[in-house]
């Protein structure tokens, strides 16, 4: 598979702080690559290095085998987590301005349809809702029909419905064979959208692979969840691994039948029992000891 963007031994220092500490990455063409990590993990710095917004202290970044240059600028689209647009200017005028920066642009009608801008295309950008604003920013990122798209926490701050709608847009972009580098706090988002993920912590990549493969490699159990109120206090002696949370008790087991029998034997009510598979959130906690949004 062709590698579109490749970084080797990437290091970035800021006044004594090593934000990125020797990262190697390869983004295959046509894939969606997720970069996950908590605040301060070096995720944003890594992405900005890959976008060419910042210069690395050392290391190399190559696009189609060449150092980042004018062609890279023409070929990429970026959607930052928070970007202000010019006041008193409509979405259509913004798209026209950004479009004029590039040699190749998508027709406005196509962009409008792809990102569902129709109802607010001619509205002042100050009057857009959060979801509308994100859709317009995505359209701006796509205005040059880019080969490689950087999406930096694109759904942060959106309500669940708007987030789902946004995922659908990203699925459509993937369907057109575009390469995507996505950063997100939402594990569900990464699981749904990414073909491959890398989990970062302390400026390093600590795990990388397809989401299902990573979960399979690290876990062979599931999680039984009970409301805290249904679990005896103090806890009875159990042979199971139990984690007491704020509202729930989580029990980790590879043998659900045996676990349920043991809980019944202790007269614990299972009326509100839930069983869930292991998630990327669990994986991150396992690898770093920290929650993703810590």
């Amino acid at each position: 598979m062709t590698v579109l963007l490749e970084a080797r031994h990437l290091i970035k220092h800021f006044r004594g702080v090593q934000a990125v500490n020797g990262i190697d990455l390869a983004l295959p063409a046509g894939r969606c690559f997720g970069l996950l990590g908590p605040n301060g993990a070096g995720k944003t710095t890594t992405v900005e290095l890959l976008e060419g917004i910042q210069e690395p202290t050392s290391g190399t970044i190559r696009y189609r085998g060449e150092p980042l240059g004018p062609r890279f600028r023409q070929d990429i689209g970026i959607m930052f987590q928070s970007t202000a647009l010019q006041d008193y200017v409509t979405g259509r005028e913004n798209l026209r301005m950004f479009g004029s920066f590039y040699h190749r642009t998508l027709p406005l009608a196509e962009l409008s349809e792809a990102c569902a801008l129709g109802e607010f295309l001619d509205r002042d950008t100050r009057k857009l809702s959060g979801g509308q604003r994100q859709r317009l920013l995505l359209a701006i990122a796509l205005v040059n029909d880019p080969e490689l798209i950087f999406l930096d926490e694109p759904t942060t701050g959106l309500d669940p419905q708007a987030r789902r709608n946004f995922w659908e847009l990203i699925h459509q972009i993937k369907g057109r064979g575009k390469t995507i580098l996505l950063t997100t706090h939402y594990m569900e988002e990464a699981y749904h959208l990414c073909d491959e993920i890398a989990i970062m912590d302390h400026g390093r990549i600590i795990a990388q692979g397809a989401p299902r493969e990573l979960l399979a490699a690290h876990f062979d159990d599931v999680v039984l969840q009970l409301p805290l109120a249904d679990f005896p206090n103090p806890a009875p002696p159990l042979s199971l691994t139990v984690l007491r949370g704020r509202d729930t008790v989580e029990i980790f087991t590879a043998n659900v039948d045996a676990a349920i029998q043991e809980l019944r034997a202790r007269d614990i009510s299972l009326a509100r029992l839930q069983i869930r598979p292991r998630t990327l959130e669990d994986l991150f906690l396992e690898l770093t000891g920290r929650e993703l949004r810590a």
Partner: protein, 335 residues
């Protein structure tokens, strides 16, 4: 340098300015109101230079020409206890009791000192012969109007470019633009060009509006005056670019812009002539672009001189523009 990219940013910036009605209105109404206010305040036969409190009326036989002196405003006061504090606080320059042949001044008041000299010397004979000067009658408002136009232009140039670019940097707009093929030269030149034509257009509107309201003397060429404002605006915008080059905080930018604009306002002769000001301050004033704009504009408007006579000012402004632009471009960072 791509003209297509430059034009796209230029057009978008123009839209942003022209659709911001509150800013537009302020840019047009403020200078017109200021000049009109001065015209009203300083109109009439002549502005009184001194204020003298009168404890009693002057009868015809007071025998002192002092009470017929022009440009002294004689203000009746009720009694001594209420009038004396006003002399102490410089609200009155002198207090006179014609009936009692007494007067009071504040020893710390320069105006009081001058009034005392006038009072004591009024009507005295002198061996100096009086000569008169003749020429165009220049009202104070005629003299101050070019200064106010230039001052308005200065605030608009400095804040309109400097503050706006800092805002773009702070809200992430510049970072987004950096990720496109747009170059700093294209972006900055579009900002300068947009602000330049908007300032010249608004200054022309303000000029026309104020002229229609109070009437200006315009003894020189309109083209020469346009040249002065064009070169002047470029120099002031370039100065604003230096502030905008790296500043990331709007508060810091506002502080820096105020630190530049207010000393220029007071040292460049907007409100009063620099004649008689300490020579060091006069030399400092020559370093400010506003001084050259105002002196050149006054020379064109009031004295009717041509470009040759103000070439020194134009050269100084051009040199400053080149210097400021070079420093601004050198310092500029998207983030």
């Amino acid at each position: 340098m791509s003209f297509k990219r430059f034009w796209a940013v230029f057009v978008c910036r123009n839209r942003e300015f022209l659709r911001d009605r509150s800013t537009m209105t302020w840019n047009l109404l403020f200078p017109v109101s200021l000049i009109a206010g001065f015209a009203v305040a300083f109109s009439g036969p002549g502005l009184a230079l001194y204020k003298v409190g009168m404890l009693s009326t002057v009868d015809g036989g007071s025998g002192n020409d002092f009470f017929q002196t022009r440009y002294i405003q004689f203000i009746p006061v009720a009694d001594l206890p209420t009038a004396l504090p006003k002399v102490e606080r410089h609200q009155l320059d002198m207090l006179v009791d014609p009936a009692g042949r007494r007067y009071w001044i504040n020893e710390e008041s320069p105006k009081g000192y001058v009034l005392e000299r006038i009072l004591r010397g009024a009507g005295a004979q002198t061996d100096f012969n009086k000569q008169t000067v003749s020429g165009r009658v220049i009202r104070y408002v005629d003299w101050v109007a070019p200064g106010i136009l230039a001052m308005n232009m200065m605030f608009s140039c400095l804040f309109g470019v400097g503050y706006v670019i800092v805002r773009y940097r702070k809200n992430g707009m510049l970072k987004r633009l950096k990720a496109t093929p747009l170059t700093p030269l294209e972006f900055l030149s579009a900002q300068v060009a947009s602000r330049l034509w908007l300032i010249l257009a608004t200054t022309a509107l303000v000029f026309a509006g104020t002229d229609g309201l109070i009437g200006f003397p315009m003894h020189g060429s309109y083209l020469d005056l346009f040249t002065v404002f064009l070169v002047g605006a470029i120099s002031l915008i370039s100065l604003g670019l230096i502030v905008a080059a790296r500043t990331t905080s709007e508060e810091v930018a506002a502080g820096l812009l105020n630190a530049l604009s207010w000393p220029m306002t007071f040292l460049s002769g907007v409100w009063f002539s620099l004649e008689g000001v300490h020579p060091v301050l006069q030399q400092c004033a020559q370093l400010a672009p506003l001084t050259h704009i105002i002196e050149a504009a006054r020379a064109v408007m009031i004295d009717g001189v041509g470009l040759a006579a103000i070439s020194g000012h134009l050269l100084a402004l051009t040199a400053m523009s080149i210097g400021f632009m070079a420093v601004g471009a050198w310092l500029f960072r998207w983030e």
